[in-house]
């Protein structure tokens, strides 16, 4: 009977959505196999009150000044102490900037299996983890041959529990654990965090993404993408071509050398559909392509397409979406 620990990433006591997506999926699994879901919190314990509602049986908290600001080495030590004392079979960690930073380091410390960016979790005597490779051109199933595995989970891969789901709506017991940090001084630390001036939705966490490509013709026209994204509550993405051309920063790039995304809805505007772009977005649940060229490869990856001039369609689509509400 597997026990699955879930690292609850939080800021100011509010958990990241991916944390509760993981507790939900872990709960769905252990409700079939037996075992428990353990939410693990470092620092502010406020998120603990929500853990039961999101599927956790138990919450483990380590509090202390050491957790005031994220640190790769501190998080590694504290979670290694947790694993060493409680022996979960899996530790799930969201594939966020923080999770990707410490999860491999933790796996090395534990000499554990480590599987990144998983989108599927199955158990049949042993765990099998599904994940994309080559940015989604292919998927793998990975079996675990170690007592514990540190598993990265892609945001939006799993749904939250909803009212009425088994395992939802009960309280979880909370206990504290010793993070084993006495006298520990890390080799490095975050000294400052800078947030972009504009409050933008992060691509890898967005439920809807609107991306623009070469079809926009010039940098100034990227505002069409930003305006449509704003109307849809979406994040704004970009093809490699317009990032390389300097129209938008690399943090917007979707594709094999940019971000790999799986939103509910991906709208590709003026993007022809190079293989390396398709790799980064083809796991989106619904894909819309707007492109003048009806033969563009993007239409082969899309669910809905409009083969017309984006300069006419995009403003009309923005108006049509605003009219829906």
């Amino acid at each position: 009977m597997p026990n699955i620990a879930v690292f609850i990433e939080q800021s100011g006591g509010t958990a990241k959505k991916v944390a509760w997506q993981m507790t939900a999926e872990a709960r769905r699994l252990v409700d079939r196999t037996g075992g428990e879901v353990w939410a693990v919190i470092l620092g502010d314990a406020a998120a603990a009150v929500d853990a039961g509602r999101h599927g956790a049986h138990r919450v483990f908290v380590a509090e202390g000044d050491a957790f005031a600001r994220y640190n790769s080495e501190t998080w590694t030590r504290a979670l290694a102490s947790f694993v060493a004392s409680r022996h979960p079979d899996l530790l799930l960690v969201g594939a966020t900037a923080m999770g990707k930073d410490f999860a491999p380091r933790l796996a090395a410390r534990l000499d554990a299996a480590c599987v990144s960016d998983c989108v599927g979790l199955a158990f049949d005597g042993g765990f099998s983890l599904r994940r994309p490779i080559f940015a989604g051109k292919c998927y793998t199933e990975t079996a675990i041959d170690a007592p514990v595995a540190v598993v990265g989970v892609r945001p939006n891969a799993f749904p939250l529990l909803v009212d009425g789901d088994a395992g939802q709506g009960r309280d979880a017991t909370t206990e504290s654990f010793d993070p084993g940090l006495d006298g520990f001084v890390p080799h490095a630390a975050i000294v400052e965090t800078r947030t972009s001036a504009e409050k933008k939705i992060e691509l890898t966490e967005a439920e809807v993404i609107v991306s623009g490509g070469r079809g926009l013709k010039e940098a100034a026209n990227y505002r069409l993408i930003e305006e449509l994204a704003a109307a849809m509550g979406a994040a704004a993405g970009a093809s490699r071509a317009i990032v390389d051309a300097g129209w938008v920063p690399h943090s917007h790039q979707v594709g094999q050398t940019g971000k790999t995304v799986s939103p509910k809805l991906y709208v590709a505007v003026g993007i022809s559909g190079a293989i390396q772009h398709l790799a980064g977005m083809s796991s989106s649940k619904c894909i819309v392509a707007i492109n003048k060229d009806p033969n563009a490869p993007i239409f082969k990856a899309a669910d809905y397409g409009i083969a017309a001039d984006l300069f006419e369609v995009v403003p009309a689509l923005r108006a049509a979406i605003q009219a829906l509400d």
Binding site: S72, C114, D117, T142, A149, T193, Q276, A308, L317, I321
Partner: protein, 260 residues
């Protein structure tokens, strides 16, 4: 200053994966192989540091790979300014998991006493993004990941790391492992004369036995490779009237796909 750059030869980003049905192996023959694009930023950063520091700096490129990886070391590392190269040639490590790779690289790096270890933020084949932080743990040193700016001072570093919606500034002591992101620099291309001369630079080929290391055991194993889930054919919305097409698309997304 001694800098190590850990690099990997990978199939290029235009590679198509032809996989008709799920199976236990992936046919990797016939791929065009290149330096992992993120490792190119690591190589370039090392060379720029050397250009600033002058002769008092040595760059070692390190890889694990079969004979074909020699080309990557020569053309993409030595020919653009790395001073020497070390390749671990160990057929048992073909398609190794990241922790196996990290353990072998750590054994190589321990021999050199490096101040700075640079590598890409991830390799674009298995996309694991694990080796950098694993190296930092195995070498018990500082790490900074997904770095877009790196400054060095006497025994210390300051790195700008890309995070959701902004950046984190990490400061620490050397030695450190730094994983490199696009935006850090603009990698240069090797010149033909430098490619010719690259073959004269010292290159060492090792096995795990040479490192006094047993081949590390894998902790996980890929059982099945599967093609991506198939997609239904694209439903084209009549586009004679763009405004009407846009309205119809909005309706379909709300009522049929239920995504808005």
């Amino acid at each position: 200053m001694k800098i190590a750059v850990c690099v990997k030869q990978v199939p290029d980003s235009e590679t198509r994966i032809a996989l008709a049905a799920p199976g236990p192996v992936l046919d990797r023959s016939g791929f065009t192989r290149v330096l992992n694009p993120y490792d190119a930023y690591a190589v370039e950063e090392a060379v720029r540091i050397k250009e600033r520091l002058g002769a008092d700096c040595e760059i070692t490129a390190v890889t694990i790979g079969p004979d074909r990886a020699v080309e990557t070391l020569k053309k993409d590392c030595l020919a653009v300014g790395c001073d020497r190269a070390i390749r671990v040639n160990e057929p048992a490590l073909e398609n190794a998991e990241p922790l196996q790779t990290a353990k072998v690289l750590a054994a190589v790096l321990r021999r050199g006493g490096y101040d700075l270890i640079l590598t890409g933020k991830q390799a674009i084949d298995d996309d694991s993004a694990q080796v950098g932080p694993m190296l930092a743990e195995l070498l018990d040193c500082a790490q900074a990941t997904v770095v877009t700016k790196l400054e060095l001072d006497e025994g210390t570093f300051t790195a700008t790391c890309e995070i959701e919606g902004g950046a984190a500034i990490v400061q620490g002591t050397l030695p450190a492992v730094v994983t490199c992101q696009k935006g850090l620099n603009e990698p240069r291309l090797p010149s033909l004369p430098n490619i010719m001369k690259a073959g004269l630079k010292p290159q060492e080929t090792l096995t795990c036995a040479d490192l006094g290391l047993e081949i590390p055991a894998a902790r996980s194993r890929v059982t099945t490779y599967t093609p991506p889930p198939p997609r239904a054919a694209c439903r084209m919305v009549a586009a004679d009237d763009p405004a009407a097409a846009a309205r119809e698309l909005a309706r379909l997304l709300r009522d049929e796909a239920k995504v808005i």
